[in-house]
Symmetry: C2
DNA sequence: GCCGAGATTTAGGTTAACCTAAATAATTTC
DNA sequence: GAAATTATTTAGGTTAACCTAAATCTCGGC
């Protein structure tokens, strides 16, 4: 049974939403997939009935991946992240362009292609946004760093990763110099969820809103 | 109206079968597309009715591309050939592997990707099999060379291109050293469609069957 | 323990791209 | 030029993935 692009997308998104290990609900999935909730129910039912079963599903109580489903999700994520890195490193794509292109390529490349770009990149472990790349065997490192939002004034460290959803945000972060590996320090935080003042590298401090700090993860030292 | 992968394939194959300028018949198209003849009729009818019209069609009398259809076909072919060359040059794919991968990638890459690989390759004019790469504007050079089959004993020249359909044939040709740019000379030909003896580069002469010589094109000097 | 908001599922379509089998048109052969 | 062969089309289905609108659940708050 050949796995369709649509199914690969479902599995990938379920994996991402599962995160720690919770159940994923229909609406969240529908939103991320840009699809009506009813369509999600339909697809999920099929994935839970067909063999091999790719998801566990109980009506009204959310979905999780089976081992088989997770294996496929991790293959797709490996493709996605390798492609992102390759586009960035080998073809000079900017940070905010890679996601859209990878979204399409991830479903069509062969094992051969995967192996060759992985080799060309030196078997890399993280993608351009700092996310870990699963191995061919389906092993993935735990994502590192804690939300910038959660740091206290005075804490410092290095940017571990930034979330890769929103190209506009990525462009803004690039402008600020916030990318994996750059040094970052919290100068102070305004109370009541006000802006945070942050020093990036050796630039002068910047005020960042919650929208931004929620999507930056820091390895505190 | 977004053009589907299926439609892109139809247009590409119609272009290839049209060749000089003849009409393309349903059966040939069906064979090349691995689809039932009835399916071809259905698709062709839609392409001829929808606007913009992509093909000219008259029941029982074959199909040709409209200008709009040809433009799309040439975009797809440009993608295909650029990708083939990129896989070969940048990622070390062997000659016979590139076609299958390009077949899938050609439908999903962005303009950005097209531009970047074309730039990385130095705006190339021919693909690894010697076929001309259409320009971004949809201009394509006439394919060069004449069939090795049609050469007389004593004629010599350089391989211009080889047809790219059959991986097994491509592997065999690679073994023989027959690829674009290599020198080639007809030593003699047996009568009654018998094998042809050919000298490739400075190797000792080889006997080649019709199956092979039909798919090699030579620029006679 | 009920009520209602919000989440989820069911019911009933739609569309694109394919299929097989039967009917018809075109072409080749005698 | 009629018959036989081959090519093409029509008719009637199938499947995957989606949709909207109308039920039906679930759960937090009272």
């Amino acid at each position: 049974m050949e796995i369709s692009h649509a199914v690969e997308d479902y599995l990938k998104i379920i994996y991402e939403l599962q995160g720690a290990g919770g159940k994923v609900n229909t609406t969240a999935l529908a939103e991320r997939l840009n699809v009506a909730p009813a369509s999600v129910t339909g697809m999920i039912k099929k994935l839970a009935e067909d063999r091999p079963r790719l998801v566990n599903y109980e009506r009204h109580h959310g979905v999780t991946l089976t081992t088989a489903g997770e294996k496929i999700a991790l293959e797709v994520i490996r493709h996605h992240r390798l492609i992102e890195l390759y586009l960035h490193e080998a073809l000079g794509y900017s940070w905010d362009q890679v996601d859209a292109e990878a979204e399409k390529l991830e479903h069509v490349i062969s094992e051969e292609f995967e192996d060759r770009i992985a080799a060309a990149l030196g078997q890399p472990k993280i993608d351009p946004h700092g996310d870990p790349i699963p191995t061919k065997e389906g092993v993935i490192a735990a994502p590192t760093g804690e939300r910038l939002t959660d740091l206290a004034a005075g804490q410092r460290g290095r940017v571990a990763r930034v979330s890769d959803d929103d190209p506009a945000l990525l462009r803004y972060l690039a402008e600020l110099g916030i990318k994996p590996e750059t040094a970052i320090a919290v100068v102070d935080r305004s109370p009541f969820d006000g802006p945070m003042h942050v020093r990036v590298g050796n630039r002068s401090p910047q005020a960042l809103g919650r929208q931004v700090t929620d999507h930056v993860f820091v390895e505190v030292r």
